[in-house]
Symmetry: none
DNA sequence: TTTACTTTCACCCAAAAGTATGATTTGATG
DNA sequence: CATCAAATCATACTTTTGGGTGAAAGTAAA
């Protein structure tokens, strides 16, 4: 920051000196005010852009990339997991109880139990926490 | 891009017009060349910075953050979660049952139940699946 | 020492989860 | 049409989990 300010000061000083020099040394009096202004405007626009980039160059923006989830169809098929079972799995992973899942899918609690039991068999696990883990590893769910 | 160029043109024209207007209307002839240049330099530096930022604003650099897990001590302390509770939480997240956790930590099943109950209270959840989720969100566990 | 916190454990009860088996319906496929 | 897989539900039973209460032992701080 200090460096940038110094550079700016130096630039301005040099420029003014240069113009004065030209003016007095070579009697270049026919250069209009507009010309001077244009030159200065251009130069300092360039400097401004440079400074702007300089100031923000190292700003690495931390973005939680949505990692646009690509469901692993292959694995789902290989394990023989049906659409409905996958739905149940997803709600399970969101922390819902079997009853809540049943309510959301408009089916009975027993149905969800059946689905989850089948899921555990196919995933070769015995608890829902393990099922969630394994499913995430295999990219079956986000 | 076109818009930016237009804005630049308009700015320069307006400025020149303004200066001319001042100069001729109020005979403010004692304003030095240096003053004009300074004003112009400042203005166009600002414009330059603005343009520079404008041009690079949407450039989001994609960085695969190594996510080398940094346990969130602050949050652990804020929630009042003890060392032992965190251990239980971690094993829970690995899919172990309370009994398995008890065996691993060489304590009784009841102890684990107490720990997990306290955990649920502190994490404001009611099921272990939710606890795992929340703990991962808060970076309490990997 | 008193206080507060952690860790440990017990008991009881209720709710949730998981297992096993069997049955019905439906849609797709050969 | 017969068959098969998927989806649904039930009943019964066991295990796991969660909630509430209480309490003992150890540690660290006030």
């Amino acid at each position: 920051m200090k460096k940038i300010i110094l550079i700016y000061g130096a630039s301005l000083a040099t420029l003014v000196f240069l113009l004065k020099y030209l003016e007095y040394q070579f009697f270049v009096r026919d250069l209009s005010l507009e010309f001077y202004l244009s030159v200065v405007a251009l130069l300092f626009t360039g400097l401004g852009i440079w400074a702007g980039l300089r100031l923000t160059r190292n700003k690495v923006v931390m973005v939680r990339v949505a990692t646009e989830f690509k469901s692993n169809e292959t694995e789902l098929e290989r394990l023989g997991i049906s659409k409905r079972e996958r739905e149940v799995l997803e709600l399970m992973a969101k922390g819902f109880s079997n009853q809540e899942i049943a309510d959301r899918l408009f089916v009975s609690l027993n149905t969800i139990k059946t689905h989850s039991s089948n899921l555990f068999l196919k995933l070769e696990v015995s608890r829902r926490t393990q099922a969630i883990q394994k499913a995430k590893e295999l990219c079956l769910i986000p």
